[in-house]
């Protein structure tokens, strides 16, 4: 209990007290509504809602057919297709944006030039929704695949025997059974999209006319200094409310539980033979996946090799010098160090929270992951930019000055991703066999030794996965970094963001290429490790 209280106190001090401070900073609730309804704020709200709904629609539009084809048909290379369409979540959204800008900016985009000017324009709400939707595709694909896999095959066979054709069976039985999972995936896409900063900034601010969202608007207010800060706080409350409402609706939908699919694998599932449609369907699915995923990534690599921005002549490595510049090296070093420390802390703290086996503490530790990064960062900013003084034993005074240091950035990374460590540890603990630890105790091991030898090996795989995922997310983090980065310093995300939006897209593409290579290498490594673990 003591350990649980210490952890809870730390969480409250670093997340919930700052949120309260943010509320205080936003002034009286009575003034909120009038600010929310001001024309500028209203257009930001509309921007957020439209782009988030659009992103959910895009993810459903592509995600549902992909999930069905992968699980239920004899599509060529279904397993590899699944790997490809779940790739986007490992790559930061603003990288997809950079790829699509290279492809579809209205002046010199690759697609623009191929199809003809005036046909495609990635800037604006449509582009934001499209890029966010494709980069959140895995949320819909994975939850829908899981639902398809849990449908007992006899549910569909019973419909056939009742007189329904294959198509009627699909629309009246299969589709209603997977709908809750697909909608829940879409709700997560909405929350992800409404909290996203990089994509709407890169595609909205320079759009004609500029299209703001709540996150980019908040950022703009923060840049204005003390006066803007309170308006930013009010908009943050609005953004937080949106996330809470959507997550609550999603939870209510799940709990309504009209449809409860049995746990575990569905039995007797039939794989539909596409017959003579197999070749065209496979080609169409692979071509779509390639267009959504391979094309923008390829565009980033090619942009880094272009001799001149916008011209597709001979390729060169001359831009790659940027990687060796001191500013880049410093940003890479800081990002790697911060991400590494954050990932290890997420793993250790997540394990510590799960080991207390207290649901309320797990819920408390889960909560920050639902807070939009912009809101969390702003809360930390308004709380810790001032020096905090503590006096202990009436004598010793501590001065806590986190503002404008990397510590605040590290803190934000850890609390935002803590849920990853908590969930993976607690799931693994629930599945772990406690008798292995008990056997160690009876063989003469102490409590700690029994945990290390008997229980921990069963958690290692899940924990390593969470650490790696946290590392990958943090090494390229942008949304919180852009608000919390100490003046005059860079992390990879902010450097890329600045190069892309103001200075030098080619240099940005080079750094993005390097980052992509690292991410892909890490994914391959993880695949190899998990496959070896499976083989054992």
């Amino acid at each position: 209990m003591k350990r649980a209280l210490v952890l809870a106190t730390a969480l409250v001090a670093t997340v919930f007290v700052p949120l309260l401070a943010l509320l205080r900073h936003s002034g009286a609730p009575s003034t909120w509504v009038s600010l929310w309804l001001s024309p500028q704020a209203l257009s930001a709200l509309v921007g957020t809602l439209v782009s988030s709904v659009g992103a959910s629609a895009v993810a459903l539009l592509f995600g549902l057919p992909f999930a069905w084809l992968i699980v239920r048909t004899d599509l060529a290379g279904a397993r590899w297709l699944k790997t490809l369409v779940t790739l986007p979540s490992a790559i930061p959204p603003y990288l997809w944006t950079m790829g699509w800008i290279a492809l579809a900016n209205p002046r010199s985009g690759w697609l623009t030039l191929a199809i003809g000017q005036g046909t495609v324009d990635v800037y604006g709400l449509g582009g934001i929704a499209f890029v966010l939707g494709t980069s959140a595709l895995p949320l819909v694909v994975l939850s829908t695949i899981a639902a398809f896999e849990r449908i007992d095959g006899s549910l569909e066979e019973a419909a056939r025997l009742s007189g329904a054709s294959a198509l009627q069976t699909f629309t009246s039985i299969t589709l209603p059974l997977i709908t809750p999972a697909a909608l829940s995936g879409a709700a997560l896409v909405f929350v992800f999209a409404s909290a996203s900063f990089g994509v709407p900034y890169l595609l909205g601010v320079s759009a004609n006319p500029p299209t703001p969202t709540l996150t980019t608007r908040i950022y703009g207010e923060v840049l204005m200094g003390e006066a803007g800060l309170s308006r930013a706080a009010v908009l943050s409350v609005e953004l937080l409310l949106i996330a809470i409402v959507v997550l609550a609706l999603n939870g209510a939908l799940a709990k309504a539980g009209r449809v409860r699919l049995p746990r575990g694998k569905g039995l007797g599932q039939r794989v539909l033979s596409l017959g003579r449609w197999r070749a065209p369907a496979s080609a169409a699915a692979w071509a779509t996946a390639a267009a959504l995923i391979v094309l923008p990534l390829g565009a980033i690599f090619l942009t880094g090799l272009q001799p001149t921005w916008g011209q597709w002549g001979s390729l060169t490595f001359k831009h790659w010098g940027v990687v060796m510049q001191p500013r880049t090296l410093q940003a890479i070093g800081v990002s790697l160090a911060l991400a590494l420390v954050a990932a290890v802390l997420v793993g250790l703290l997540g394990l510590a929270v799960a080991l207390t086996r207290r649901r309320w503490l797990e819920t408390l530790a889960d909560a920050p992951s639902a807070i939009p990064g912009t809101v969390l960062a702003l809360a930390l900013l308004v709380t810790f930019s001032r020096d905090l003084r503590f006096i202990a034993f009436d004598r010793i005074a501590f001065v806590l000055a986190l503002g404008n240091t990397f510590w605040l950035l590290l803190l934000s990374y850890v609390v935002k991703h803590l849920a990853l460590g908590v969930r993976s540890s607690s799931d693994a603990l629930a599945q772990a066999d406690p008798t292995l630890g008990e056997a160690a105790r009876l063989s003469g091991a102490g409590r700690l030794r029994a945990f290390v030898d008997g229980i921990f090996p069963q958690l290692r795989g899940a924990l390593m996965g969470a650490v790696l995922l946290t590392f990958l997310t943090c090494v390229s983090e942008l949304t919180m970094s852009v608000l919390l980065i100490p003046t005059g310093s860079d992390v990879l995300g902010t450097l890329l963001f600045e190069l892309q939006s103001y200075a030098d897209p080619a240099a940005a593409a080079v750094i993005a290429s390097a980052l992509l290579l690292v991410v892909l290498a890490a994914l391959v490594l993880q695949g190899v490790v998990s496959r070896r673990a499976e083989a054992r």
Partner: protein, 341 residues
């Protein structure tokens, strides 16, 4: 005209032949049980009747009409069948009423509500019509499945292990319900089961299947009383199936010589016999065997004797002084002889 006719059906999954040249006729209004251990091909046979699997070779006819040969195939929804699945397969997103109404809705039949409520009445679920599946017990779910399969008055009802997910008491109750529904509606039924008691109690005829072939097809009394093969004797009657050698009217097994009962004649050579446990006599002459275990079963006691690597089971009265590891004289009161395997 047969309600269902299978003609030389063959089916393999990959390299494994699951059903081998199987022929079978189910008469109108008959309840035929396909009985066998798991993996014997009985469920696959049922699914080929339903059109959920296609045979590699052979012809399936329903009411004299070809529904599957190599040239033509009638989709399952066009065969006019009803089916009850082991896993209930009650749709979780529809209420009890909606589940049962579904087959009628597809046919756009009038008088939907009355028909659905009648079907629910058959299985005594009318009061639960508006419930959701997750509010029902296993037995109630299987009754919903039964009503749904029967509501469209199918010519043939297929039952795939309908009772095996239920506990013993519910199983007996639902078994009685299937029997009375059959009496009421006269529907032809094909029942797949691995439970010999279920097959013998419900069926007009039983087809005992093993390794993809029908070993015996006969009325329950005949299956039980006159098993055609050692497998049927062992699987249905629970008999001891013993393999040994016949010589001069005696049966030799593991160095013991038993008298063949009732002056049964056997040619000299390898011989398989089936002896029910109640036909094994203890203490009435015969070779002495060591008692391996003694299992008190309530009304009777089962004795297990070691016969080399084989085990001989005998049933005796509940009160008996026989002690473990004590030798006892064992003989056979009756046996079925099958000749060499």
């Amino acid at each position: 005209m047969a309600a269902v006719e299978l003609q030389e059906i063959e089916k393999s999954f990959g390299p494994t032949a699951v059903v081998k040249r199987l022929s079978l006729e189910v008469k109108e209004h008959e309840l035929l049980a396909l009985l066998g251990p798991s993996g014997c091909g009985k469920t696959t046979t049922l699914r080929m009747i339903a059109g959920l699997e296609r045979p590699d070779r052979g012809v399936v006819r329903l009411g004299g009409r070809v529904v599957d040969d190599q040239a033509s195939f009638t989709q399952p929804e066009q065969r006019g069948l009803g089916m009850v699945f082991q896993s209930y397969a009650v749709w979780p997103h529809k209420s009890v009423f909606e589940n049962v109404a579904y087959p009628l809705q597809l046919r756009r039949e009038g008088g939907l509500e009355a028909k659905v409520m009648e079907a629910l009445g058959w299985v005594r679920l009318a009061a639960l019509a508006q419930r959701r599946p997750h509010e029902l017990s296993g037995g109630q779910l299987q009754r919903v499945a039964l009503a749904r399969a029967l509501v469209g008055r199918p010519k043939v009802l297929l039952l795939d292990e309908p009772l095996s997910n239920l506990d013993v008491a519910l199983r007996e109750e639902l078994r009685g319900e299937i029997a009375s529904l059959r009496a009421k509606l006269g529907t032809t039924m094909v029942l797949v089961t691995h439970d010999q008691g279920e097959a013998l109690a419900l069926a007009d005829r039983v087809a005992v299947m093993n390794k993809g072939v029908i070993e015996q097809l006969a009325a329950p009394a005949e299956i039980y009383g006159e098993p055609a093969t050692p497998f049927v004797a062992g699987f249905v009657g629970g008999a001891n199936v013993l393999e040994g050698v016949a010589r001069d009217g005696r049966f030799f097994i593991e160095g013991h010589a038993f008298e063949l009962p009732g002056g049964a004649k056997a040619e000299n050579g390898p011989l398989t016999i089936a002896v029910r446990s109640e036909d094994v006599a203890i203490g009435a002459g015969g070779p002495e065997l060591a008692l391996q275990a003694k299992l008190f079963l309530g009304s009777t006691t089962e004795y297990r004797f070691a016969l080399g690597p084989q085990v001989l089971r005998a049933t005796g009265p509940a009160k008996d002084a026989l002690q473990p590891s004590q030798p006892a004289a064992v003989s056979f009161r009756a046996a079925r002889l099958f000749g060499a395997r």
